[in-house]
Amino acid sequence: MVYLDDSILQAGKIASAGSKMLRNFAAPFDAEVVTRLNEPCERAVLGEFGLEPPKSLPDGVLLCNDVFGHVRTVVAERGLCSLRPTYGTVSRYGLIPTACSMDQIGVVCRTPAEGFSLLARIAGHDEKDGAMFPDARYSYEKPAQAPRLHREALPYADLVEPVFHILAYAEISGNLSRYDGVKFGYRAENYKTLEELYTKTRTEAFGFETKLAAVMGCLALSQDHYAALYDKALRARRLIRDSLRFDLYDVLVLPVESRLPVLAGLPSLTFRGVQLAAGVKNEGALLAAWEALS
């Protein structure tokens, strides 16, 4: 059984992206991945627009757009596998957008082989998505020889986290502005003016993380802060991308998570050094449009 993140549209079914804002939004059409899967799917409600950790993960293969990495964290704790394909290889037609330059449907599965076989079915060019690689195929086979290992320092590791958040928040702030209570989705009651309709609707229907992302994103794009935040982050993103030496190496191996899993009765532990690398692992892959496997 394949589960779909609630931000993937299925004709006639509610696609809420985990938000109260869209809890009455019946999708008008099937997402491209749904069409390509061509089998019955169950839905899984994760965190609101991927900005919050999911309360639980379904017991089965899951397709989701894990921009903010919350799903991957849970996956790591559970010992599952998370496969994020290269940007622009799986159609986003029918995916509720969060941060368009990083949105990409990926797979949560038990083994890489299972994930790749699913990717092979859903990946490939779709003219309904305007930002795709013309040709992308996935297959899975074990390497013939054992890999040679090298230790390499990542020069911009400390930039990854802030750059990721500035860009992701800026982009999601733009994508959230369509939810205004006018056309579809949640609408507040008792308003007198248009301004009040907008404000009340968003106040009542967006969760804390979503409000935070919208406000931070607007700040990064505002005239006063654009140069110092958004524009600088765009430049830094290019630096980070070019610093990942995929011209020399095939694979970059990093820890996924900085914290140890929360065990019953024990406090959660965080290691600073590990956290940086985890940032590169999760968000670095997003910023550089590379695929990631955990």
């Binding site: 549209l9 696609a15 992206a17 869209l22 939004f25 999708a27 008008p28 059409f29 997402a31 986003r92 037609y93 029918g94 995916l95 509720i96 957008p97 941060a99 368009c100 330059s101 003219e127 309904k128 998505d129 305007g130 930002a131 800026a170 982009e171 702030s173 733009g174 994508n175 959230l176 502005s177 369509r178 205004d180 006018v182 056309k183 579809f184 248009l194 907008y198 607007c218 794009l221 505002s222 005239q223 654009y226 958004y230 765009l234």
Partner: protein
């Protein structure tokens, strides 16, 4: 009294003549019932990525070419963010950082001579929807048909000094863009809209005065009137000091003949522009541009020269035909079916436009089946029918789409040129109207018209008037006696 100089720059929005919208496959046609041309994408629903309309880019390149602009090698799109109910996504997709072209120039001609107007840039963007206020119920409704219809905005430098220059520029733009197939440029339908940025300074001053922007003019006449009003308002403010000019947007009320402040909020809106990550940068490579350049239709000026030169047509007529892309197309298509340019022009200007005017249509709206139209002209030219029968059949073509040849045959409208038949009719009419006949013989030429009328009627309107006149004169002057 001080001398003042008016300084103006224009922002002209032109709807591109594409079949579909800029980022979805909805129809971009004007005039449908409210919200008929809407899909999840242009209604702002989440889940449909923007896919750029290639035809819109090609038309943008055509606009760049006819305005002598420098085309950007790689153009990009940006998002302009603001909340308004006519903007379903909460952002407009436009071009800020790398518009399709920059630094264009156009030559205009006014009574004061020739002048070059320079363009800052042209960018592609999507249109917004339309709000319809219902005064009766006090509600406001939204129509998303126009949402995401592709536009280009042509931004000029502040090169204009008179309303005459502005009008000449807009006419030139309309001619260039409509002949290149970029847009139909109909101001009344809003497919061409013009905002005027205007300021006034003392003549000779190098510093620009406070600028206001006037919107909502939907004809060249309204634009000229708005400029005259606004310039005078600025001069009065400078002269008397009774009003302080502020930089603002003003709405022109054509009925009242005044401009009104749109009273935007004190702090200017921050549109939070940023590069749109949904749409990949578009490479405008030389080969593509050349392909579009070589496919550009003949511009009005060249067509005028060809009509007056090679085809030997009068300047007045050629100017009327090349003043409208639509008439020009009708001319070309009709001429392709019947190669007599003088008669084709004649029928378009004298007959077709007269009928169109009666139906409240102008040069840009009149339409006719050009193959049937050509056949009709040929029938008259070849004396199969006479001209007045031809006019009636043209009406029938426009109304019912009749085939002229079949219609003539079915209704027995062929030209009567049987001299025996005409002679018998002349004799009957003369014997029934002896008084008039006597008057003509006495030298009263006016009575000829009366007799001709009677004759044509008795011949069912189908006779060749020239021949009838000839036979009438023959019998009046004694007829072979």
């Amino acid at each position: 009294m001080k001398q003042y100089e008016v300084v103006m720059g224009l922002e002209v929005h032109v709807e591109l003549a594409t079949q579909s919208k800029l980022f979805c496959s909805c129809s971009a046609k004007f005039g449908a019932a409210a919200n008929e041309h809407v899909c999840p994408a242009c209604a702002g629903m989440p889940g449909m990525p923007a896919v750029l309309n290639k035809r819109a880019v090609e038309l943008g390149i055509a606009a760049a070419l006819v305005t002598n602009s420098e085309i950007t090698p790689v153009m990009t799109f940006d998002k302009k963010n603001y909340f308004y109910p006519d903007l379903p996504t909460g952002y407009q997709i436009t071009q800020i950082n790398a518009p399709i072209c920059r630094n264009g120039r156009l030559e205009i001609e006014t009574g004061a001579g020739k002048k070059t107007i320079t363009l800052k840039q042209i960018h592609i963007e999507e249109d917004a929807g339309k709000l319809v206020h219902d005064a009766r119920t006090g509600t406001t409704l939204v129509d998303f048909n126009r949402t995401s219809v592709p536009l280009i905005e042509i931004v000029s430098n502040p090169d204009f000094r008179t309303a005459e220059e502005v009008v000449a520029y807009l006419e030139k733009l309309r001619s260039l863009l409509s002949f290149a197939g970029v847009s139909d440029c109909k101001m009344q339908e809003g497919s061409m809209r013009c905002d005027v940025n205007i300021s006034v300074r003392e003549a000779g001053s190098g510093v620009l005065g406070t600028r206001t922007e006037i919107k909502n003019m939907n004809s060249l006449k309204a634009i000229a009137a708005a400029i005259a009003f606004e310039a005078q308002r600025h001069i009065d403010a400078l002269e008397t000091g009774r009003e302080t000019l502020v930089q603002e947007t003003r709405r022109w009320d054509d009925a009242l003949g005044e401009s009104f402040s749109m009273r935007e909020k004190e702090n200017a809106t921050d549109y939070r522009y940023f590069p749109n990550p949904e749409i990949l940068p578009v490479r405008l490579d030389g080969a593509w541009i050349e392909q579009i350049r070589s496919a550009l239709p003949e511009p009005a000026r060249e067509k005028f020269l060809r009509m007056t030169g090679e085809l030997g047509l009068p300047e007045v007529d050629s100017r009327i035909i090349t003043g409208s892309k639509n008439l020009s197309d009708i001319f070309d298509r009709t001429l392709a079916s019947y190669g007599n340019p003088r008669e084709v022009v004649n029928w378009i200007i004298v007959e077709l436009l007269a009928i169109a005017k009666g139906d409240n249509k102008g040069e840009d709206d009149v339409s006719v089946d050009c193959v049937k139209f050509a056949k009709l002209i040929e029938l008259v030219d070849g004396k199969t029918i006479n001209r007045s029968v031809g006019k009636k059949i043209l009406q029938k073509i426009l109304q019912d789409g009749v085939d002229p040849e079949a219609y003539v045959a079915e209704n027995n409208l062929g030209l009567v040129s049987d001299t025996g038949l005409i002679d018998r009719a002349v004799q009957t009419v003369l014997s029934e109207n002896e008084k008039s006949a006597a008057e003509v013989r006495g030298g009263n030429e006016k009575a000829v018209g009366f007799l001709m009328g009677k004759l044509m009627k008795s011949l069912g309107g189908k006779a060749d008037p020239k021949l009838v006149n000839e036979r009438l004169r023959y019998w009046l002057t004694g007829g072979g006696l």
